[in-house]
Symmetry: C2
Subunit: 113 residues, 2 copies
DNA sequence: TAGAAATATAAGAATATTTGAATATATTTA
DNA sequence: TAAATATATTCAAATATTCTTATATTTCTA
């Protein structure tokens, strides 16, 4: 699989409200499943399922501490990605100059061959 | 809807191989649907469907040029996101110090209450 | 060593996404 | 105005995702 396709798989894995929430917390430090039950309002099996999916895609991993599983971030893209998602863009990209949206008329240099 | 949830919707919209490919091309400039038929190996109706989804989530927009629809990027996160996906991270995040994966033993300061 | 605690796994139902096929619409040109 | 071109829409089938419920596994502790 090409590198970019791996990254798309990762995007899909991350693009879920519960999983983003988990990753946000993990950027702050190691958490075990019962820690997560405190801030997620979903069932324990469902948490486990999300964790196992994230681990499957290499986003996180865990170490065992007695009967706890301590999860932590593994893929270094995660903090950067979360920061990007939180970033406040002030304005949309400008529509291509001289070509207002929905106005008819040619866009010089962009005509079809 | 909270801002971060909007962003997650956007992530989901973007996390598809065809749609990423479209966005990559749009970072280079305006493209109409028949331009896209040249580099995507899917049917025209399917291209239209992906475009309409991206537009629905505010990722792209178009202007009309005769019988062409000229699509362009609208959400300013897109170029940054694509750059992030292409970024080559040299190594995984370190596992939390003093706690190798799967090794038993407490992680000082991270014990449950 | 039995029971409790922490977590995982499995199975199934509900829902969402993706695609293909057929068809519709708008614009230009003959 | 009819035909051709560019693109969109609709619907259904296939597939994938998500969540719930029930149960299993591992480890700790009394």
């Amino acid at each position: 699989m090409r590198a970019i396709e791996k990254r798309i798989e990762l995007l899909k894995a991350v693009a879920h409200p519960v999983r983003i929430r988990i990753l946000e917390e993990l950027t702050k430090g190691v958490k075990c499943v019962s820690d997560m039950e405190e801030f997620l309002e979903i069932s324990q099996p469902n948490i486990s399922q999300h964790l196992s999916l994230l681990r499957h895609y290499g986003v996180i991993d865990y170490y065992v501490d007695g009967r706890l599983r301590c999860y932590f971030l593994k893929d270094p893209i995660v903090p950067d990605l979360i920061e990007l998602l939180r970033k406040d863009y002030l304005k949309e990209l400008p529509a291509p100059a001289c070509c207002p949206v929905t106005k008819k008329g040619r866009y010089p240099g962009e005509r079809r061959r």
